[in-house]
Symmetry: C2
Subunit: 145 residues, 2 copies
């Protein structure tokens, strides 16, 4: 999603386009697929708009998330992370360096099958695998070597 399409999403939904929100959008764009947390987003966005407060950052991220403009991810022992990638994918979370990689797969479970078997209708997914990323595996290996 481009900056422009995020802004037009805001307008379409009657949300105001404020300097604070633009600063946060800019940070989200800059961060690419790195799944930043609120504190990092706040720190970076505050450089662009000095008056920005942490509570506004949270309010904004929640608002964006509620409107499907971004996605909120929650993990063990880490602050929430915010994800710009809205396609169905698996998050590969490195337990050593906390890096989060995206692993794109086709829709791996058939929602129709789930609803038929269990009565449960799926609206959203969170698919996470934990382990070690390539870099951390190599480092672990050389330490233990």
């Amino acid at each position: 999603m481009t900056k422009e399409s995020m802004i037009s999403q805001l307008r379409k939904r009657g949300l105001k386009v404020t300097p604070q929100r633009l600063a946060i959008i800019d940070v989200l764009m800059e961060q690419g697929n790195s799944h930043p947390g609120a504190s990092l987003i706040y720190k970076k966005a505050k450089k662009k708009r000095k008056s920005l407060s942490l509570s506004t950052t949270y309010a904004t991220l929640n608002e964006f998330s509620r409107h499907g403009i971004i996605k909120t991810l929650q993990f063990d022992k880490m602050e929430d992370r915010y994800d710009r990638n809205l396609e169905e994918h698996i998050n590969l979370i490195c337990e050593r360096c906390k890096k989060i990689l995206d692993y794109n797969v086709p829709f791996i479970v058939d929602p129709k099958r789930v609803v038929k078997k269990t009565g449960f209708s799926i609206t959203d997914a969170r698919l996470e695998y934990y382990g070690l990323c390539r870099e951390c595996r190599e480092e672990e290996r050389s330490i233990k070597g």
Copy 2:
């Protein structure tokens, strides 16, 4: 996992078998697949051992989780939940009543494929689908209907 096998797991790993831990194990057994949270476990286990403290409950659940005796699950806007079912499965989480259902599937992503494509080696999984359970779907339908 039976109560006895949990206890023998403790002994095997040099962990002490205390009345507090037995109370917590009993609660975990009683709760079946309902994925209780720390506060519920504490409340129920305290009835069995009146001296039990909340911090001990957390310490115990963390210890069990660290040793693979149970599994800790974390969700949005809910306290951690603890899971006795150690087989790979998908958690179906009802957004309305917060019920958590298990949906057993064969291992849906091939770890070898992931490591080959990304260098990431998987050690653990958390697979969650959000939506509405059968009961909540019916209730929503009758309200709107």
